[in-house]
Structure formats: C-alpha cells, structure tokens
Homo-oligomer: 449 residues x 2
Amino acid sequence: MRGPVERIDLSAAELPTRWYNVIPDLPCPPEQYLDPVTREPATEDFMQALTPRALIGQEFSLERWVGIPAPVLDAYRLWRPTPLYRALALERELDTPAEIYFKFEGGSPTGSHKLNSALAQAYLARQEGIRCLVTDTGAGQWGCALALAGALMGVEVVVYMVRSSYFQKPYRRHLMELYGATVLPSPGEDTEFGRQLLAEDPDHPGSEGTAVSESIERVRRDEGARFSMGAFANHVLLHQTVFGLEARQQLEQIGARPDYLVASVGCGSNLGGLALPWVPDKLAGEEIEIVAAEPAACATLTKGEWREDSADSSGVGPLVRTYTLGHEFVPPPIHAGGLRYHGAAPLIGLLRHEGLIEARCYEQSTVFEAGRTFTRLHGMLPAPETAHAIRAVIEIANECSARHEKKTIVFSYSGHGLLDLGAYGEFIGSELEVSADEALRATLPAANA
Amino acid sequence: MRGPVERIDLSAAELPTRWYNVIPDLPCPPEQYLDPVTREPATEDFMQALTPRALIGQEFSLERWVGIPAPVLDAYRLWRPTPLYRALALERELDTPAEIYFKFEGGSPTGSHKLNSALAQAYLARQEGIRCLVTDTGAGQWGCALALAGALMGVEVVVYMVRSSYFQKPYRRHLMELYGATVLPSPGEDTEFGRQLLAEDPDHPGSEGTAVSESIERVRRDEGARFSMGAFANHVLLHQTVFGLEARQQLEQIGARPDYLVASVGCGSNLGGLALPWVPDKLAGEEIEIVAAEPAACATLTKGEWREDSADSSGVGPLVRTYTLGHEFVPPPIHAGGLRYHGAAPLIGLLRHEGLIEARCYEQSTVFEAGRTFTRLHGMLPAPETAHAIRAVIEIANECSARHEKKTIVFSYSGHGLLDLGAYGEFIGSELEVSADEALRATLPAANA
C-alpha cells in the first residue's frame, strides 16, 4: 500500500513570475463599478480616493499576463511554490476510481491563500507613497495577511475587526498585533459611524458591514490611507492566480489534467485563484467542471440573483452587477466566517452567469464531518472554509464511483483550521446548535469588563 | 535589497532514508536504565512491559545508520523534506556579519518536529502487534503527534493530558480527538492513582508527573498497550536526526558549514535531532558550538546536576544518569510547556558532561520579545519553545557583530506558535505576571460545571 499522499513539488526556479488576467479571454468584460449615489460609472476620483492607482490599473486591464514585481516574488518565496498533493488516503477511503489532488495553500505564514494578494497590494501601495492601508476583517484571515504584508513591505495597517470576533476569537487579533497592525473592534469609538452604533447599543456585535463602513470613513478622513480588499475585486483574483498557475504546472509535470476544479466560495478569490487559468481551455471546448462549494446558509451562487448590488453590506462603496443575496442579507453565524458574504466577486458572478461555473451548497455539520475525515486520513486540519471544498470533492468522487469514471479532481486547500479548533471542538461535542449570538451574549460583558 | 529569506529546498528524492545513531561514535556509551526499585540495570522484562521491542532494540544499538521503514518514509512525505531558510531579514535587523539559517520543522501537520518520532514509534508498535500506545502530554504537542501517527499507522492512542491544560487549552485536545485519540485529563477517574488524587483535591491541576504515572498504570493493566515517549529516550533522538541530516545536506548544497547549532532544550529531542549528525565532526576537532537554549525557570543543562535520577517526575519509571534539577522539581508555569522538564535526555546529558554542548538560559519576557521580532520580520510565528532558540541566536549574532566575525548560525525552528497565541496575547498585554495557577482557579470550576 502506498502512503497517505503523493507530493508534486516545484523548484524555486519554477515559481510563476506573472499573474494571469482572464479578462481579455472572456466573451465579454466584467461591468464597471457604479457610484452608489449617482448610479453612474464611478469616476476616477471616486476610485482613487479609495484604492491605490496601480490596483485600479489592474482592475480592468486587458493585458493577459501581468508581471509579478520582484519584491513580491521575494516575499512569495517565504512559502511558495506550494506543494500539490495527491490525496491517496482519501481515494482509498472513498474507494473511488477518481484521482483527487489538492493544492496546499495552508502553509503560508498566515495560514491561507489570502497572503498572495496582500503582499501585492502592500507592495504596490508602498510604491506610490501610500502610508497606510485600511481594511475590514471578520474572523481575521484577511486581516492577518494584510498585517504581515504591511510589516514586510513597510506600510502601516489598520484593521477594523468585527466586534464579536475581536473579543471572542482573539487569536488572529493577537497575530495581527504581533505583525504590528492596529486592530480596532467594529463598531468602535474610532469613527463617527462606530460611535453612533455604540450609542444605540453598547454591546453591538458588529458585522462585515460595520467594519467596511468604518474603514471607508477612516480612509476618507486620512489622505495617506487607502482601502484594501481581501476578495471581490478583479485585481485580487488576478493576484490569486499564482496558485492556480502553479497547480497547472504541477499537473502537467505528471501528465495529468483536471476534470473538476473545486474550491469553496465566499466571494471568489479562492475559486478564481485556482480555476481562472483553465477558463480559456474551457471556453475552447475542453470538458472541465469548475465547482463552487458554498455553505447552505449563504449560498450566493446557488441561490442568489444576477443584478446590480452594493459590494459592501453598508452600501457606501461602489455598486456592481454580480450574483447576490442582497447587501442587507445577514448570514447566520456559521463557523466558516470567510464564506459569510452576500455577493460573489463580479468575475465569478460573470462566469456563473455565462454557465462556466457550477455551484453546490452544503450544511455545516456535513462540512465538519468531511473536515474530520480528511484530518484523520492526511493529518492536516482544514479551515471550515476549505472543508466545504472537501465536502464537495467527496460528493463528486462518490458520483465518479457510481458511474465508474476515472476522473481527475483538483481542489484548493485554501487554509488550515488550527485557529478554528474551537469550532471543531463544538462539532465534536455536537454543540453547534449553540449559536454564536448566545456565545456572544455570554462573552461580551466579561471581555468588556 | 533581497527578500526576507533565501530558501534551500531538497527534492523528494533527497529525503534521508536512514536515521543517524550517534552512540557508536561517542567516546563512551550512554548508561543503562536502572530499575527504580532494585537500582540494578532494568531487566528485559521490565523494559518490554513498557516499551515496544523494536524501540528497545534501537535504544542501545551500535549500528551507525538505521534504515527508515518505507511506510514511515511515505508518511514523512506529508511534509518532508522541510525547507532550510536563510533569515536575511533578521540578519539585516541585527546588522550582523553572521549568516543565520533555520531548519523549518513548523510545517508538519501537527506543527512541530515531534511527528518525526511519533510516526516511527506507531509504525514499529503496529508491526509487532501492539494494539494501543499510551502517552502523557502537557500542552499537547507530543500528544497531537502520536495521535496522528496512530491514525495513520492503525494503532489506538490514549493520551493522559495534564488536567489544567485539558480544560484551559482545549485546542490541541480537540486536534487529538479529531485524529481519533482518547484524551483523558490527568489526574482523572480512569486510574487508581488518578482517583486517589482527585479524592484528595477535586480541582487537582495535574502535572507531567501525574500523567506519566497514570500512563504507566494503564499500560501495566492492559497487555496490548505500551508506553510511548516523546523525548528523553535514545530512540527518540535517533528518529529526530532525520531533520538534522536534511539540514546538513542543504548546507552542503550551498557550500556552507555551521559554526553554531542552536536549539531549545526541554529534554533534548529537538537539539539532538539538529546537532547529533555533526557530533563526529566536532569530536574530530572541527570548531562547532552546539548551543542549548533553555528557560531560566527550568535550566536543566545550565543549572542541573549530573547524577542518577528518575526519568519521570513520579519515580515509577526507570532511573538513569543525566543532568537533572531533581525529579521532584516542579517548574513554574511558563508558556513554553515543552521546556518544563526536570531532566535532560541521557544522550544530551552525556554530551553536556563531555563538554560538547554549551547551555544558555533566558527569561520568558526576552524570549517572547525575540519571538515577536522574528514574526514581524519573517511572518512565521514561532512556538514559545522555538523562540528560546531565536533568543539565543540573536545573542550569538550580536556577539559576532561585536567581534566582527562572519560565522554561520543554524537553528531549529522546531514548531509554530499558532496555538500559543493566547500566551503571545498576554505578552502583548504585559499580563504575563498573571500566573497559570490563577488562571486555572478562574477556569476550572466553570469548565467542570
């Protein structure tokens, strides 16, 4: 019997030196952002007040390949190229004729794929003299990535962290602080909007919506600051293609090609990173299924509508057409915090609209069960977000078994779940029915004391 | 300016296929274990009742090279070979002429070097029909490693976890449970010894001593079970040489050789793993400093005595000659739980006695400061244990600066600190003076409720 995995490595020299930009290869370009007040295409001024110019330039670029700046490549070498693994033990457990591979993005210093874009954003901001990047974070994956990127590239980072996570899940907050970032609970005393919310409810738990609103208020009052996005924008998906391009090289190295590309989707930077490099092949007629794995509780691509909506839940940022559950939608407090987002990245929405992406959604308990199965077989504990992809892979592999089809399934192992062990512990104890709200009410007064 | 690191990789084909056994190369062999009752050399029966036969065979083997079984190699491929990094950013920060390298053992699925030995032990136990391995764990690094090894190799694992950690630091407990291990608080209701302690004090916080005693009681009542050690024994150090051998290949690949080999020491499996492969060079007259970094609060090699003592704090296991603070010594509750051990591994004690190892010890606050510095510069958060090595490296690099010496320093990055973020958070908040005992009193009643 062979071991739990086969590992396909790239040498340092094989690290991609360019990101892949899918836009020139699409049948139609993604739509422009709209000003939320005028509902007209957002002006250059509107965008530049929010976003570094270099990133605006990348947003609708028609260059197919965008060179990765040398200092970003140098920082990528902290953990890239990452391994591609064949999950032999999972194949045996499922007794499937399918071959299952996963691209391991869980080995980055901050624990997920998010750092691929954070480093690029911090470097480009620094290049144009931006002093400070401001962002919002829920559970903290993106906040950690940007905090480290700021430390490495020499940019201050301010993170508005959803107030309930700030107090209940302090581990990622501590990590951001170790990197030197300023982390503020949202709502908080730092902005007018935050003070207003706290005046109404001193125990306000906060949300991504409050954190985005406070971030934008901060950016608008500080000329040296810009807003940074961890997903959604086209440029974020562009930066994430570095891992899909690596995976493609690794598969080619062993003479394999994917029949299924699977990733969890909150907004889409993970699925985009993995799958965009294969979109031209699919458009050229190759049979490749691109599968978005979503939580049933926030099934944007499965159940959302294709329409113009606000990118942020507070409605102060730009509007754009995509799949959305409505920007007022408040997803229930599931543990995969990274998937609690009302809308898809516009590029992912467009691909879905064009019929290029299939979406599947799963209940939380079956997702944790899939995560546990994977952990026992391979040792690596997946983030709850990643466990959604694993849940989908198990379903697809079982379909392959039923049809006796030897397909190749490739999924994104987007992040580790070490800082989610509390949630896994609740799963083991079958205590998932205790809602985060209840936990919050039990915790906040003490934390505030 | 170059990036934060240079990375030296080995290909999959370069994974060592043999462990290095230092014993035949030593001026004198390590001493035999003694029966704690008779104080005579422990009999074959005494040892075999505790330990798998294959491991007893390795304990005093005179074979210089021991082949790594193929299934262990297959499991090593989950994360091995591991990278060797040159810490360029730390060199720049310290403005030192020294070159600083670190061997990155923090990327294993369980987060530390411990898995190197756990996989070997679980495989060899399974080969001789042992149904169950029983072990003790403090904060849980070793328990996690053995739990995963058991899951991969098909051996049941029972872990007695220090009761205070069981309730206060549940993350690693959850990970062990996800791997399928049975985790019991020590003291607990499962053994006579545990019941006795709880009858005396229902809130007994436990210690490594209680956990070892309960483990041995369990092994003695269950014929299909054996005790497994995460450090101390010669065979554990043997298994850990896999990473020192890799580091040696990596340095040779770039034409470098170490002037300093640095690792934190609780018992010695980490320092042994890194440094033993260079002991013959040192014995042949090469100038290599082997440096043990210890906590001031438990400075076994710096302040201990060279004498016969019990390997376990309860005194039921074998006696052996080594450096010890006395098996009754109860170290203060520092955060580097893996370094809270009263004695050195006999091989490490012997090397210290022979003048082959230098020991340095550090206060906890300076260790956390070193950990934070490293984290900001390189992104990777070191375990508090690993931060001791970093603290020593900073001191040595500064000595090199003062003497204008271009030396090569190599240290073991033995594990990540993601599950120690609570401790780092206390450090950030300068709350380290809150003792674990106080925290325990605040926590246990609620956890028990």
